[in-house]
Symmetry: C2
Subunit: 405 residues, 2 copies
């Protein structure tokens, strides 16, 4: 019998074997009626025992991340995410100072303009009459990067990514109807929010697979994610996925918009530099920073991998339990979808000693997730535009899991 | 230029072309702060403009469906579902008289017993330490069947199906740990609810792909869907997916449990007859019963297809716009996943005249969705166990869509 198997069997029999039927019977029958006055039939809610919540980014963390003291930002509790879909209620938020606009969809319009033959304005109803696609895509803020500083938990270090089923009209459908003029090479996504956020993206990518999305996980996009319309550009940094989308302007060259100028460019880059496609990245979400193992024995190491390069598909995830000396292929959750979170897992029996766990992924472009040292060397002296370095977690003798970066 | 293209272009230019910038600008800038006192940062909610809701089944409809005057049942608003994921908040409910039990997961246990070498009891924490899988599966109540009677809308006729990403432990993992004894052929799923619902299912299917699920769409299963544990048996009738699961009992032969006896057997069948795998089914959800077209011109016909036979995969969906005389292949939304809803669409230009729209699907077992007449003939005189007949919708001259069954 292999050690792994032995460890697993030991866990299962020691802690879960049948001792007596009576002990179980009482707790199994516990039930009460629903809380009076709450009608869960039209639109249900989760159990009152569930407390998973987003973590609001205070001014201090916010300041350290991108110098914005008035952020309206929150981390997704990725350490507690089950499956690849992030519940819309806990999708990460990055809004830099403003709550979401309260948009009446009956009054909202989308304008296609700029270097086009036929400028168009669509109502929501008109958009929904057009051909649509649904795709499971992640969106990740470029600020989602682990650091050796005060960020201790998996949520602190990796909570600015979420994954949803996005439904909407391919941008190519809209631009073909409008007719793109010669000389057009870029597109500006324009937001209806007070800050008038806008972003530049290459026309080629917009025609390939970008969406004007109105649906998220089977219903209308949530206000904090861009209700009623969001520009979704799979594999690109989150900031390109313009929320509360009101316009798509076709132009000749990239604009250096307010948020593309200066401090909010990717780390350390000068104005007008664009880093759009995110590299391969993975993280173990259990056991992970801030969590605690309750005892030695069998565990399943689980985590997520994703990539914005190549065709956006994860080909391989390896996991090390010895600080990177040896690596084991993790099992990938099927189906592995392009530009979606990919779930991986590896059985592990913890012997109660110290261990350093980490994952690294390879995408279908052949790119391999770098270590922090490799990334720092490549991007020296200014630091990389993306935080896709390997995240090591240290398990201590008493089962605590620490950020070992 | 093909007629279809001409029709589409006409819609797009007539109704959406740019008339003047000023008209659009005002509505685009409308925004207000969030309603005071509501903190959407920890756990968000949908926009106040969204009203999509489940439809509670009153006693009358309930009586006609399965003779239960005290049902706690509700239809999912499938006509408004965007994408293949049903939001957990509007997943259909079939509970026959009881609100969901209010189970504390810290006290809940799952018992594996019966014909096994080592009976086991698991806590929720122990279950979550085991290897898991996430799969996007539909669940459909066998009562989900169109009828020519009082059921007029797409929700009335087809709202007892929903599709979620389910995450949990394969039943095979648990049964291998417990050790199945010789002579075992069936399994009883046991519920913690007051009625002590239990169901029989073949051991072979349980070992193949059944799950003890604790996750639904990225978070804990909702109370109405079985919190904290649900037995998920892909492709089987909804009643086999035992909610509030507390036990898996391995047995030699199927039990005739309370709900498998008499009135709640599949339509017209005698006690102890089991119809488990659902046949191929599809329905157009737009334009569909209860909806209204706002004017002639371009529309996208959309709908869902699913099957419980073969490997659960839809191979083809055809759509007819002339009452079944001619059929056109619809486009299938990729990826097409086994035992999941598959989205299909077909462009259509409505000329303002009467039309009868319908879809039919073929699965990878080669089974074709039958017409109501074909089904009635095959299952005469008692009626079929599943309601998977083709659903025709009639579009009237004034754009109303009626049940044409």
């Amino acid at each position: 019998m292999a050690p792994k198997r032995a460890g697993r069997r030991r866990f299962l029999t020691e802690s879960a074997a049948l001792i007596g039927l009576a002990a179980g019977t009482k707790s199994l029958s516990a039930q009460n009626p629903e809380a009076p006055g709450k009608d869960m039939m039209p639109y249900g809610e989760r159990s009152r025992f569930e407390r998973t919540a987003r973590i609001r980014l205070g001014n201090k963390v916010n300041m350290s991340m991108h110098g914005d003291p008035n952020g309206y930002d929150a981390l997704s509790p990725i350490g507690e995410q089950i499956g690849i879909i992030t519940p819309s209620a806990v999708h990460f938020i990055s809004s830099h100072g403003n709550p979401p606009p309260d948009i009446d969809p009956a009054r909202h319009r989308l304008m296609i303009h700029g270097l086009v033959e036929r400028p168009l304005i669509y109502t929501m109803e008109e958009l929904k009459r057009l051909p649509s696609v649904s795709r499971i895509y992640y969106i990740e803020c470029l600020a989602n990067r682990p650091s050796p500083g005060e960020k201790k938990t998996v949520d602190d270090n990796h909570g600015l990514i979420s994954c949803s089923e996005w439904t909407g009209v391919p941008v190519s459908v809209l631009l073909k109807e409008a007719g793109v003029k010669p000389g057009a090479h870029w597109v500006i996504g324009e937001s209806a929010e007070a800050q008038r956020t806008s972003r530049s993206a290459p026309l080629e990518k917009m025609m390939l697979d970008a969406l004007v999305a109105y649906g998220q996980n089977g219903e209308a996009i949530r206000p904090q994610q861009g209700y009623p319309l969001r520009l979704v550009i799979p594999g690109f940094e989150g900031k390109y996925h313009v929320k509360w989308l009101k316009g798509i302007k076709v132009v000749d060259r990239p604009y250096i918009t307010y948020w593309e100028h200066g401090t909010f460019m990717s780390n350390g880059n000068t104005k007008g530099q664009y880093f759009m496609e995110q590299g391969p990245k993975s993280v173990i979400t259990f056991p992970a920073g801030g969590q605690k193992l309750t005892g030695r024995g069998y565990y399943t190491i689980v985590g997520f991998a994703w990539t914005g390069s190549g065709s956006g598909t994860i080909r391989r995830v390896e996991v090390s339990i010895d600080g990177g000396r040896t690596w084991n292929d993790a099992q990938l959750q099927q189906p592995v979808l392009p530009y979606a979170l990919t779930r991986f897992q590896l059985p592990w029996t913890w012997n109660g000693g110290e261990a350093v766990l980490q994952s690294r992924c390879t995408d279908d472009a052949g790119q391999v997730q770098p270590t922090a040292a490799e990334q720092a060397k490549f991007w020296a002296p200014m630091g990389g535009p993306h935080g896709n370095m390997i995240q090591p977690w240290k398990v201590t003798n008493d089962g605590q899991v620490l950020n070992a970066l």
